[in-house]
Amino acid sequence: MISYLADERRVIQWIRHLAAETPVFFPMPHGKVNFRFERVDEASELQFARYRPTIIAPNSFLTPTKEEIFKYQRVGPGRYELTPAVETTFQILAGVRPCDLKAIKLMDDVFADGERDPYYFQRRTNTSLIGYACPAPCDEMAYCESAGSLDWRDGVDVMLTPVGDRMLIQAYTERGEALTASGDFDPCDDPDAELQRHLDERPKPFGRQLHAPVDELPAILERHWDSPLWDQHVERCFSCGTCNLVCPTCYCFDVKDVSALDGSSGSRTRQWDACMLTTFATVAGGHNFRADPAARQRHRVKRKFQYLNERYDSGAFCVGCARCGRQCTTGIDIFDIVNDIVDHDRAAAGGAS
């Protein structure tokens, strides 16, 4: 690993330099209070300090909201020619926070499960990640430390770690080394000391804290299948799916064909779906396996803190970014739901003993 030091100005210069040759996406302010990843051009104002998790997580660059998987073209009676979608544009996601970095690692697991998903991995291999270690929680909602993602670095090409008024720049991969070669950086002899300084400078505890360690949550949640809390936490739910769509570890999709008017050509696409939507688990004939909003909320929460951890053994599938709680218009926060269940579990255990 090669390590450098530089002030933020030079780091930004370097990112601009990269952007001149390659599409680089960076979190930029959008609207009144939000951020989104936008393509860097000459006019972009790049800043690391001001940040709130982007509306949609950067995994949309790996699994776009709507993506063509192949085109079809009728070439004769009943005969079709299929052309699978090939996406080889190289892109750089810069300023990606640790929560999102961990989420991308989780997506790597999901899309490698069983058959490797070619559409995901062709984008993944063509994407470079430049991470940024948060020196402070992005706002009062974040609970990344508690969710176990705050120190995530796995999968990055380059990691930027703020230390004092400078940044530690570390290339973790060969690609990272190639990228950093063009920066006007000073060498860093003792990266570990710098990292330690970063940790020392960081507030403790960092952000909100879940009421139980994430590795205890599967067992706790398992004990509360029938809890009335599920109903309470959906009283105000719109089943709008926002919490799914903004979540960096939600990946469910629907498959749809888009065809020319006469049906002779078109494409098969997949587009994001959301398990909080009413018809997500409806089968033909009308039976809905999760007709009740509480059942859907339970599925979502358990997916993040129990089911998928059990399947992939990669820790919690919630990375604590708090996007869902921030974007839910009605103020439902998965953090509160989980804590509520933990509190009830503790109370019940206390009462029993």
């Binding site: 998987i69 192949f70 079809y72 009728r74 009676p77 009943g78 005969r79 079709y80 020619e81 299929l82 699978p84 999901v110 899309f111 499960d113 069983g114 058959e115 490797r116 998903d117 070619p118 559409y119 299948w225 990946y251 469910c252 999709f253 629907d254 498959v255 749809k256 064909d257 065809s259 049906g263 078109g266 098969r268 997949r270 779906d273 398990c275 997500f280 688990a281 409806t282 089968v283 033909a284 004939g285 039976h287 396996f289 999760r290 059942a295 599925h299 358990k302 997916r303 129990q306 089911y307 998928l308 059990e310 399947r311």
Partner: protein, 282 residues
């Protein structure tokens, strides 16, 4: 078709269907249509697996494979007119082409049944996937103990694979119970009642019996209770769980129950392995 070899799902062929031609089609019932397709090469499937059937422009649907494994480049299936795609498939007949990919999922493992008494419980269209296994068992009849089939549907007019059921009954070495919920005003020689009712009368040997079942979601709870009453252990009951599926290969999230994907880890499950999943038997 330009993409060869799609029956061995390779990373490139993922999601890409191949073309198959319908050789024979017949309406089994008012809403269930039987198809026999000819393929370029044998499917190489196991009983209980499924394929994704496509019509370009309309999308895909998971459909169970009805024929037993073997060397014939053939695929049999029964499709119920249940929605946008299946309605269109009902207008298809011999000579028409459809798209296919698969086979997908974990089917039944014949080894779990060899040397045992085998009970099949089929509700309605549930006979379609089970037929694949029943045929495989009957083909090697000598290697199994008793072979019993309970096949139920709502009315006599809704029974599928009637010639098969008759032929199996005529063999003499297979116990067939055919029953309907309601036979009002219709010719019907079988029994009237629910698929749970004949179970007790079969005098099953709990130690020897292996069960395979498939039917509408409501059926499972009751059959499982009945089987438990007959002393049959959950590790010898195999269930076929059908959920909404979009990709068939464990990515789209629709068929997820707890930490399992019905498509990839199923659709056939050993009951004891999923008995704790509360959403499995809603």
């Amino acid at each position: 078709m330009t993409m060869p070899g799609a029956f061995e799902p390779s990373p490139v062929a993922n999601y890409l269907p191949t073309t198959a031609i319908i050789e024979e089609a017949e309406n089994f019932t008012a809403r269930d249509r039987y198809f026999r397709l000819s393929l370029e090469r044998p499917l190489g499937h196991r009983p209980g697996q499924f394929v994704m059937v496509s019509v370009f422009g309309l999308g895909e649907a998971p459909i169970s494979i009805s024929n037993p494994p073997g060397d014939a480049p053939t695929l049999e299936m029964v499709i119920r007119n249940a929605g946008s795609l299946t309605q269109v498939l009902h207008s298809y007949g011999p000579g028409d082409a459809i798209g296919l990919r698969g086979p997908y999922g974990h089917g039944f493992d014949l080894h779990d049944f060899l040397g045992r008494d085998v009970l099949f419980i089929c509700g309605g269209l549930g006979l379609a996937p089970l037929r694949s296994l029943i045929r495989a068992v009957i083909d090697r009849r000598g290697e199994f103990g008793r072979v019993m089939v309970i096949s139920g549907c709502r009315t006599p007019a809704e029974e599928i694979y009637r010639p098969d059921l008759t032929a199996w009954a005529e063999r003499g070495d297979v116990d067939i119970v055919r029953l309907v919920d309601n036979a009002a005003n219709m010719p019907w020689k079988g029994r009237v009642g629910l698929v749970t009712e004949p179970i007790a009368g079969l005098k099953l040997d709990p130690a020897e019996t292996v069960v395979a079942m498939c039917g509408p979601p409501v059926m499972y709870k009751f059959v499982l209770l009945e089987l438990a009453g007959a002393g049959i252990n959950g590790d010898r009951v195999f269930v076929d769980l059908e959920r909404r599926m979009r990709c068939g290969v464990g990515k789209c999230g629709h068929c997820q129950i707890n930490d399992i994907y019905c498509c990839q880890d199923g659709p056939v499950f050993r009951f004891s392995e999923i008995a704790h999943l509360k959403e499995a038997f809603l």
